[in-house]
Symmetry: D2
Subunit: 136 residues, 4 copies
């Protein structure tokens, strides 16, 4: 299992007139979570792209448990718990740091594609190698 | 059942460097779909808010079936198929108009809250009255 | 002079906790204005890109005159008043349709670049040809 | 003069199909810059709002000097160089940390308003007190 925690400060731009974080923003927070998880394994997503791979989403789910608010300091916890599968699944928890309250949970599922042909490919060796140490 | 179809043109701002619509944008497209569905019943969401109600999300799911692209004309189909329940569930299909291809599907679940107290309330009568004719 | 007016409905996603349209959103509204202006001349921006050109911004200015609000129907007026110059300048007015109030004004300045090399090029002939009839 | 530098990592969500940071995003980066400048003086913007003030934009300008790219680490430099004036003006420079290249510059002008009445008020004493030490 690979687990990473990143901090994000809620921007004014992220809020809506309900005074809460806009629902679509959590998918952006999830993005930051998985980007930093990958960087933490020593394989920044930008390197995967430079090597000719992309990792688009095939599915995403968010459960909104408590509203995020302007200027909240959030912890984005991202977890990958399967290494060898055609799909990459990442689970997330968004936690308000001050109160330790879980304000959202969810997951994203991804498939590797060749960035030129945009066709599915199996997880590249550089990805498997970067994550393997966490699964031993 | 209430069903509504709205058209949206994909903006440059909606795309990302993968050349596709950014994954989080679909939740914004869903928003437009349900907003226009409500307007179509004669009850704009702004009136619900003016009457003291808000309708935050409690859950959202998106399945990405095919990439949306810049300048695509999209049809956002929104469907409500249950009238009397504490939760409001809306199902969506996003269709590329030119090719009639379904590029994303998903749903959102909502709960009515009092906009002052931010506490859950049952679906207001004005909402039930607006949608009831479609369920007869 | 080429002038085009497009309508946009303010989304919940566009608002922030101040209850107004977020300041950065106006640049997105300007984008829609110039996209539809180009489409109106018979030359969609997507065709310019397909021909190997891009039109990034070199400068943008917004004056916020009155707040935009959720569900406002806005008219985005876009004007190009010079045809032959290295820079393309577009002026905008954002008008709340119901009250005819000008809520924002501004401009964007652009330069054509070759989409492969990302280097500046002079305005392509297809662009000059599309706009020329409006300057006669 | 008050000056503050904040770091931001460019998100995938921030990019567009031109492979660069979307033009409207810089206004969001400016927001982060001024938010952290205020926090640095000991007066978080959230406290100003809690005290009944808001600070909407009246004008914004961005000059795009070089494209920002995915995963760039950016430094957002924000400067306030006048203390006692009805308008608050903040100047920004966005710098790509790795190359020290200035990729964008600009400013925002703001006016304090009462958050209930939404009417202009003079800069509140708590704001003047927080910034005064930097102008001595």
């Amino acid at each position: 299992m690979v687990k990473h925690v990143t901090e994000i400060r809620v921007r004014y731009a992220d809020t809506d007139k309900m005074q809460f974080v806009y629902n679509g923003k959590y998918l952006e927070y999830f993005e930051v979570g998985r980007t930093e998880l990958l960087r933490g394994t020593g394989l920044p997503y930008a390197e995967l792209e430079a090597a000719g791979y992309q990792l688009p989403l095939i599915e995403a789910k968010v459960r909104y448990r408590s509203p995020g608010r302007y200027d909240d300091l959030l912890q984005i916890e991202a977890v990958v718990d399967t290494l060898r599968s055609a799909k990459v699944r990442i689970d997330y928890r968004v936690i308000r740091k001050e109160t330790e309250e879980v304000i959202a949970t969810g997951y994203t599922e991804h498939m590797f594609i060749n960035s030129e042909t945009k066709r599915p490919v199996k997880p590249p060796q550089m990805y498997v190698d970067a994550l393997a140490p966490y699964f031993e």
